[in-house]
């Protein structure tokens, strides 16, 4: 039986693991079999993570977080969660391999999954010109023309990255206003290979064996036009990855896991959530990391407040609990 199992290996999961491990809770972290490290594994330069004035490569940052978590006693398992039973006092986690683990607490930090356009042609051309990962596939578009769909930071980053290879990059966005941060917008706007196509959405993707174009629909007039492109990179945001906890944890209207105020406490005692899976707004590596910290501290308070059958509480522990500045942690036990 574990004190805590952490599900997810992005900034939230690893930061929770660092704190939990330093609190001697010997966390088990389920990292996923192929998506370990989370979203940052697919990014290049991360320039807004404090402490790295020259920037750091996303995968390097995640490897560092993992080493830091392991250094203090986190055990990392490269597998996926097949099912979860979070309702009782002992939480059960079943992995893809069939291995079963039990713990008194679970931190759920599974992040989010790329949103799809929802077009039939998108499925058909997935891997044949439609991509969700510019850093993986950008090099196949040397001297070609591509389209990036989306108006947020990830769309700006992908578009800017793709100009290393492509001759021309269209950024197709539904409205006339970008959601991306000023820095990212300015960088994309200043890039002469990038052309913005506003008030447009993708009606369908066209081609033979491979993509040869996109049909765009004007979101104001409804008029359709075609752009000749060899690649379409979809960067229209992400949805919280909650399918494992449907029916067990309460969700918000935005689809994120509902937590109590600024804490990480879900509707179930002993179950905590952190990172993008609870955050419909900010979704940064740093906010995910801080959310992971909150979850680890909430786990500590919860475990301290659990009644112990085996040992009488030591006097120091009673005092510590009495001095607890966050009484709500005890209330959830």
């Amino acid at each position: 039986m574990r004190q805590v199992i952490i599900i997810g290996s992005g900034p939230a999961g690893y930061t929770a693991a660092i704190y939990a491990a330093r609190a001697n809770l010997a966390p088990l972290l389920i990292a996923s079999s192929v998506e370990f490290g989370g979203e940052l594994m697919k990014t290049t330069e991360v320039e807004n993570f404090p402490g790295f004035p020259e920037g750091i490569q996303g995968p390097d940052l995640m490897m560092r977080m993992q080493s830091q978590a392991e250094r203090f006693g986190t055990e990392v398992v490269y597998d996926d969660v097949a099912s979860l039973d979070l309702t009782g006092p002992v939480k059960k986690v079943v992995l893809g391999s069939g291995a079963e683990h039990e713990a008194l607490t679970v931190i759920f930090s599974t992040g989010s999954a790329y949103r799809r356009l929802g077009l039939e042609s998108e499925d058909r051309y997935s891997g044949y010109g439609v991509s969700w990962c510019a850093t993986c596939d950008g090099a196949f578009y040397r001297q070609k023309t591509v389209a990036v769909v989306g108006g947020g930071d990830s769309a700006m980053e992908e578009a800017t990255f793709l100009t290393r290879f492509a001759d021309k990059v269209y950024v197709v966005h539904r409205s006339s206003m970008l959601r991306a941060s000023k820095t990212m917008q300015d960088r994309a706007m200043a890039n002469e290979k990038i052309e913005f196509v506003f008030n447009s959405e993708v009606a369908r993707i066209t081609g033979g064996d491979l993509v040869t174009g996109v049909v765009l629909r004007d979101t104001v007039t409804g008029t359709e036009t075609e752009l000749d492109v060899s690649g379409v990179f979809v960067a229209i945001g992400a949805d919280p990855r909650t399918h494992l906890v449907h029916g067990q944890l309460d969700l918000t209207d935005e689809g994120t896991i509902r937590v109590d105020g600024r804490s990480s406490r879900t509707n179930l005692p002993g179950v905590f959530a952190a990172g993008d899976v609870v955050d419909p707004i900010y979704r940064q590596a740093v906010t995910a990391a801080s959310s992971g910290t909150v979850a680890a501290l909430d786990v500590e308070h919860y475990l301290e407040a659990l009644p112990r059958d085996d040992v009488a509480p030591a006097p120091e522990e009673t005092e510590a609990a009495a001095a607890d500045p966050i009484p709500a942690a005890a209330a959830s036990a």
């Binding site: 996923s32 192929v34 998506e35 597998d79 893809g96 850093t135 993986c136 596939d137 690649g231």
Partner: protein, 107 residues
Amino acid sequence: MSARSVTDATFEAEVLNSDKPVMVDFWAEWCGPCRAVSPILDQIAEEHADKLDIVKINVDDNPETAMKYQITSIPAMKVYRGGEVVKTVIGAKPKPALEADLAEFLA
């Protein structure tokens, strides 16, 4: 044991002219998901060595083959039988999902 590498020069002999079905993993050094799926392919290769050959080809070093098979997204895993592509799997997937995709070649 890790899956062996093939090149533009050896592709025909080792893949197209093989008696057994061969799955080719098109990958590159700079592709994170490729590195993630690589150890899983090694495991599958080892567990099903009698049924399916699994080999890797670096798309940077072997552009001819990558271009011939119109690779635009990696990792791309293609199964060849009798010189023809009979199955394509795109993207890194967990082991059970890959095994399900490849079921007909592993049984």
